[in-house]
């Protein structure tokens, strides 16, 4: 190929990529930047890129009567526990589903993931009524169950796909080497599943962390999560932009890190030269 022919598509690709990056990153960068601006700069008519950074919004977030700490702890523990349960159960169920010989296995797997496809709007009212009868409103358990109902099928489905990629030869070799089924799982399968487990965990955590609808409906004064705290800032007299931007930054940070982690693990091959 000659240079001019390649030159054009390359430019087009670069331009498109730059546009896409601007489109995606500018609002986030602007939010993070602005969260360090004093109020006068935030509301100034001409946007400013250079300013003296301040931590005043973060300080006011984490101190005083309406501190963000309890919300943060609620979010972390609810998302964390529901993720842990989803990954542990999803791992075991996924292994079983991947290895079992069963007629109509595909249908079973599809049925499981199909429960994940239900729109939240359709299930939220029935769930609210159920939770009220079961005294699960305004409890950690309630929200954990709510997130599990969506994350568990997803975790099972994703882990099944990861296990499908792992040749059964390895477990069989372990069993011939004298391992019990559980030992084969523990010493051979599980160590090779780290990428799958991390990926699943991060995706489940993101769902619970980002959720607003369930938290808004099922939580009470003692179980509200960060998205609820952020929303509350909008309904008070006027909008406290500085605080809102700071909360936004706090919410986005773990997700950005998680995103990078998922990419690292997902790219990593599963079998690492086990076969051939």
């Amino acid at each position: 190929m000659t240079a001019p022919k390649r030159w054009l598509p390359f430019t087009v690709k670069t331009v498109l990529l730059v546009l896409l990056l601007l489109w995606t990153l500018v609002p986030i960068v602007w939010m993070v930047l602005s969260s360090f601006k004093p109020n006068s700069v935030i509301t100034a008519n001409t946007p400013r890129i250079f300013f003296t950074p301040t931590l005043e919004h973060y300080a006011s977030l984490f101190s005083g009567g309406n501190s963000l700490w309890p919300y943060l702890m609620n979010s972390l523990s609810i998302a964390g526990v529901s993720t842990l349960i989803a990954v542990v159960l999803g791992c075991m169920a996924g292994f079983g589903l991947s290895r079992i010989r069963l007629k109509g296995k595909k249908h079973l797997a599809f049925w499981i993931i199909s429960t994940r496809m239900a729109p939240i709007a359709a299930v939220i009212v029935p769930m609210y009524l159920l939770f009220r009868y079961l005294y699960l409103l305004d409890t950690y358990a309630g929200l954990i169950v709510a997130y599990l109902s969506f994350n568990l099928p997803f975790a099972i489905w994703l882990m099944t796909a990861f296990f499908d990629d792992l040749p059964p030869d390895l477990e069989e070799a372990a069993m011939i080497d004298g391992a019990t089924k559980f030992q084969a799982f523990r010493y051979v399968v599980l160590p090779l599943m780290t990428p799958g487990l991390v990926t699943t965990a991060i995706l489940c955590f993101i769902f619970a962390w980002n959720d607003y609808a369930f938290a808004q409906t099922f939580s009470g004064p003692s179980t509200q999560t960060i998205p609820i705290a952020a929303a509350q800032l909008l309904t008070q007299t006027g909008i406290d932009w500085g605080k809102l931007l700071a909360i936004g930054t706090v919410v986005v940070c773990p997700m950005a890190i998680a995103g990078l982690l998922v990419k690292r693990w997902m790219v990593q091959g599963l079998t690492l030269g086990a076969v051939k």
Partner: protein
Amino acid sequence: MATLQLDNIIKDFGSTRVLKGIDLEVKDREFVVFVGPSGCGKSTLLRTIAGLESASSGDIKINGQRVNEIGPAERGLAMVFQSYALYPHMSVEDNMGFSLRLAKVPRAERREKIRAAARILQLEELLDRKPRALSGGQRQRVAIGRAIVRNPSIFLFDEPLSNLDAALRVQMRIELTRLHHELNATMIYVTHDQVEAMTMADKIVVLQGGSVEQIGSPMELYHHPRNRFVAGFIGSPKMNFLDVEVHGVGPTGVDLALPGGACRIPVVGDDINVGDTLTLGIRPEHLKLDDHGSLEGDIVLTERLGGVTSLYLDHLGKEWILVADGNIVHRVHERVRFSFDPSCAHLFKSNGQSLDRLQRHPLAGVECEGSRVNAI
């Protein structure tokens, strides 16, 4: 001391019967090869012996003891997988020592056994590497080493050489035979390659469609194939076949009328009648160019290997192969006459069964001797 006995093993996957009643006896220290075309059930049979599949019916006995209900871990066998199935997250040393670790063998003893196996397989420098840092041949060795360390009663191999290149395959073939004698172990080896079967086996089990076609020593299968399938499968290039009519039957053989004259094949023709149609089978290496021969054909293709030349002939509309001397000068499109020694020819009935020969070949029944291996 390890023997294996299979009694009428049947294996169904759902409604498909993959093994249709397999009977087999494996003697102590025997090298048995399962050979057959792809999909005939070799792997399934091996996995059933290993305990990775359960037999739908029939008995599996190791050292006379029924093991159907015993799991793979307790059968005391070792298996080398076609894919090698090395644990990717463990070093070569840990791969080889995994079974010992599970058996709670003390570290020092474990090391010693691993070193010993590594020495046999020339793996000593690689013990710290991960499988992904090994070549195909080295992975193969590690997989075999893992089996040796376990000191199994029976070794099982499922097409272990099929992922190696041709030169390495030949080398490993010799090495496995040597290993068999060094370890004095019972080995069962699965392959679809009849050359591997012929060169390594004490006893070959030819499988087709889930049934045993014939069991015997390599020379027995070569000289006395029980049916047309075995005759065509064993030997390379393949046996030539021709439908012929019977002109006479006597105590010294069956008379045939061939295009270039009559001939008598020394086989038992008890239930054969004049006028029956049989199939004549002659191996390419038993045909010889002969200006007065009773058969003739046009050369379609020549393959010169130097020492020998394969002639592909159009013989009465069928493709026949003749293996001739490497120095012949015949060319494509030439018409040649050729003949064969009737005592080397085979006759098959229309149902594929072969007619027994009047005389047994002196080498048939002789098993692969140790002397051949020691000479290497």
